[in-house]
């Protein structure tokens, strides 16, 4: 084939956006991987460029999790989809009493997505993973046609080394256990709300997205007996407590006034007719500990930089319900929602 022969030309690619050709497995894709992903992620296992990562042997039990991230907008006050994916994956492992060790990430990118934004998200992931020594060891890239994605979706998997001496699970919840929340709730949901199209309002509010492993490690190092841990994500505190109540078959009694709330979160919720107890968090968890370990748990969490609060206790009732003592001192059921909370009309 001479140099002049009509060859299938290299697809024309604008320099600043992702095209279908970037997902085609050819030279453009390799350039994308090199310029964006390998530039951000420096783990030797990833740079081996093998089909899979080879991990070191681990003598302990291991925890394994997967998660997907479809958040909109991709950049929000206090984070972006990349840092969120790392926090979310690592936090699921931390809730198993496991130190997050390895993670993978699949990028599903919509044609036309900004390369600079992609690079920024990759760097943000790398920074978030580096904070707790979590290694991003393998990944994947796919490009979908314009209109078939929402900019960028991420899918992750994570592996952790279980360091908790006893199992951490809803079945270990006992009557009398103290229910501790690791900090104020709902800031992530309110921060996302504040930048949603059509809703945007001015606020200094930032997402609470953060790693929970340092706090869990502090609890474990202090010798706290942990019956159950659960991070408060979609559906917020109310949904998480309902899941634990149902799984454990124990009633959970919650004191509304004890739940820590930032005034800005409360104000945003009032404005839109939303209940902060159902607002999403990305850096908070609930811990169920026996009453004689309560103070030890609070001390450990504070030492790890958290602002925890005891918000209730496990009752003797066998129904698996969450009961809330409201601000005016009346008790009622705190149920799960059937779907997403919708802003009220008036």
């Amino acid at each position: 084939m001479s140099d002049q022969a009509p060859a299938c030309p290299m697809p024309h690619a604008p320099e600043d956006t992702v095209t279908l050709a970037h997902g085609g497995g050819g030279r453009l894709m390799h350039r994308l991987i090199e310029k964006v992903f390998l530039a951000a992620f420096t783990d030797p296992a990833l740079h081996e460029a093998h089909d899979g990562a080879l991990l070191e042997p681990c003598p302990d039990r291991q925890a394994f999790t997967t998660d997907s991230f479809v958040i909109r907008p991709l950049f929000f006050p206090g984070g972006d989809i990349g840092s969120l994916a790392v926090h979310g994956t690592a936090n699921d492992l931390a809730m198993c009493g496991a130190q997050p060790m390895y993670m993978s990430c699949g990028f599903i990118i919509e044609e036309g997505f900004s390369l600079e934004a992609l690079a920024e998200i990759a760097r943000s992931m790398a920074r978030a993973a580096g904070q707790i020594g979590l290694r991003v060891v393998t990944g994947d890239t796919k490009v979908v046609e314009r209109g078939k994605g929402d900019g960028l979706y991420l899918n992750t998997a994570g592996v952790g080394r279980v360091v908790a001496p006893d199992p951490i699970a809803p079945v270990r919840v006992r009557p009398g256990d103290a229910v501790i929340v690791s900090g104020d709730v709902g800031a992530h949901g309110a921060a996302i709300l504040s930048v949603r199209e059509g809703l945007a309002f001015d606020t200094a509010l930032k997402s609470d997205a953060a790693h929970l492993w340092p706090q869990v490690r502090a609890l474990l190092e202090a010798g706290t007996e942990l019956h159950c841990l659960r991070d408060l994500t979609r559906g917020g505190l109310a949904t998480t407590l309902n899941e634990i109540a149902q799984k454990s078959g124990r009633d959970v009694c919650l004191e509304e006034t004890a739940v820590p709330l930032r005034p800005e979160v409360e104000a945003a919720c009032e404005l839109f007719g939303l209940d902060p107890l159902y607002m999403a968090c990305e850096g908070r968890f609930a811990a169920f500990v026996p009453p004689d370990h309560r103070e030890r748990a609070l001390r450990a969490l504070r030492a790890a930089g958290a602002a925890p609060a005891v918000i209730g206790e496990v009752g003797t009732g066998p129904r698996g319900e969450v009961r809330l003592r409201t601000r005016i001192g009346v008790e009622r059921v705190l149920d799960m929602l059937s779907g997403e909370q919708l802003p009220r009309i008036c």
């Binding site: 059509g198 809703l199 006034t257 005034p263 409360e266 104000a267 009032e270 007719g273 209940d275 129904r319 319900e321 409201t326 601000r327 005016i328 001192g329 009346v330 008790e331 009622r332 059921v333 149920d335 929602l337 059937s338 779907g339 909370q341 919708l342 802003p343 009220r344 009309i345 008036c346």
Partner: protein
């Protein structure tokens, strides 16, 4: 939070509860008109602080709940047209029509967008000149002025691709309808503070006199509602039927004149169908002649679409205070927030949804 915590103070609430118990010597049935008040009552558990003789029934003041079935069907028909972008408040999306909901229409490909203000829909129409943007105008006197502002803005911008599917309703005619029903049990009203902030409450004087019922314009926080109930009970016990204003920090007798002026420019009262209740004279709003070309029903020829309400659903009786949600045989079984039969199970302001959410398991055990 300032200006909020004060109205949710536990000790003050307990003091009001004691006062209310001391005031109540006979059984009374009173209605809170507004779905927002129903929501507060259930959320904070205010009904559990009341003396046994004082019964609260929940009124028709949930805009989502009273929007007639045929209007939902018309909304769905409009939304399915390829040229339309259908804009609605989020609450309306899940309301079941005869066969489906706007949410299902969206899943099947209709371009339906949730907006938080009618002005957002006008902005959308400006940005998308090739599409027909329709706003589903739902709500009481509280939201109607915003729709009126949107209509005026669309006219000022000369937009030919913006229209309104109007389902606005007015509170006082509905109160009159409840009071003149033969089976009426309501002896006094907590009127909706927000509605009165906009529309004033001079329209309530003739109602109070004619039907001999006390009416207290009341806010939405626990202490507002408890204080409103004290004022109402005091009148009932003394045989008075006056209009009183508990919500003085916001509502005035004459209302918000600027809002009312734009409302009167764009809308005029008309006979309107209420879901579960039927037609009520002068209880709805339609566009005035200068704005009539914004009428989406005419523009898209959907006036003929009619609908039959499901027989199992007692929404009408519940919205008139004749029954409580958990007394409906379909409550929690055939009708749940996931699969609602009637609109009161949909909106967070709907009495059935409030019972299900805050009393779920308990109400079902009864």
């Amino acid at each position: 939070m300032k200006y909020l915590d004060e109205y949710r103070d536990r000790r003050a609430a307990q003091r009001y509860a004691k006062l209310l118990a001391a005031l109540t010597t006979k059984p009374w049935t009173v209605m809170e008109i507004c779905g927002g008040q129903t929501h507060s009552i259930m959320r904070f558990g205010i009904d559990r602080l009341l003396p046994p003789g004082l019964q609260l029934v929940h009124g028709p003041g949930c805009p989502v709940c009273v929007t007639p079935l045929e209007l939902i069907d018309r909304a769905i028909a409009i939304s399915r047209r390829p040229e339309t972008v259908f804009c609605s408040f989020g609450d309306m999306l899940r309301v079941p029509g005869s066969r489906s909901s706007l949410l299902e229409a969206r899943a099947q490909g209709a371009d339906i967008r949730v907006v938080y203000s009618p002005l957002d829909a006008v902005e959308l129409a400006r940005r998308l000149p090739a599409r027909q943007v329709v706003f589903f105008a739902v709500g009481f006197e509280t939201t109607a002025p915003m729709t009126a502002m949107a209509a005026r803005r669309a006219r000022d911008l000369g937009l030919k691709n913006f229209s309104l599917l109007t389902a606005h309703v007015l509170v006082p005619p509905a109160m009159a309808a409840i009071l003149s029903a033969p089976a009426n049990r309501v002896q006094g009203f907590l009127a909706a503070g927000h509605v009165c902030t906009v529309a004033g409450f001079s329209d309530y004087e003739p109602l109070a006199r004619r039907y001999r019922v006390p009416i207290v314009v009341t806010g939405f926080e626990p202490l507002d509602i408890l204080q409103g109930l004290c004022m109402l009970t005091r009148q009932l016990e003394r045989g008075l039927c006056e209009v009183q204003n508990q919500y003085g920090r916001s509502a005035r007798a004459a209302g918000n004149q600027a809002a009312l002026a734009v409302l009167r420019e764009v809308f005029e009262p008309c006979r309107r169908q209420w879901r579960g209740i039927g037609p009520i004279e002068s209880s709805g709003l339609r566009l005035t002649p200068p704005y009539a070309d914004l009428d989406a029903e005419k523009r898209f020829g959907v006036q003929e679409i009619a609908a039959q309400e499901p027989r199992e659903c007692l929404a009408g009786e519940i919205l008139q205070g004749l029954r409580k949600p958990h007394e409906c045989p379909a409550f929690g079984t055939l009708c749940t927030p996931e699969r609602p039969l009637g609109a009161p199970m949909v909106s967070s302001e709907g009495a059935c949804a409030a019972y299900h959410r805050y009393r779920g398991a308990e109400a079902n055990r009864k």
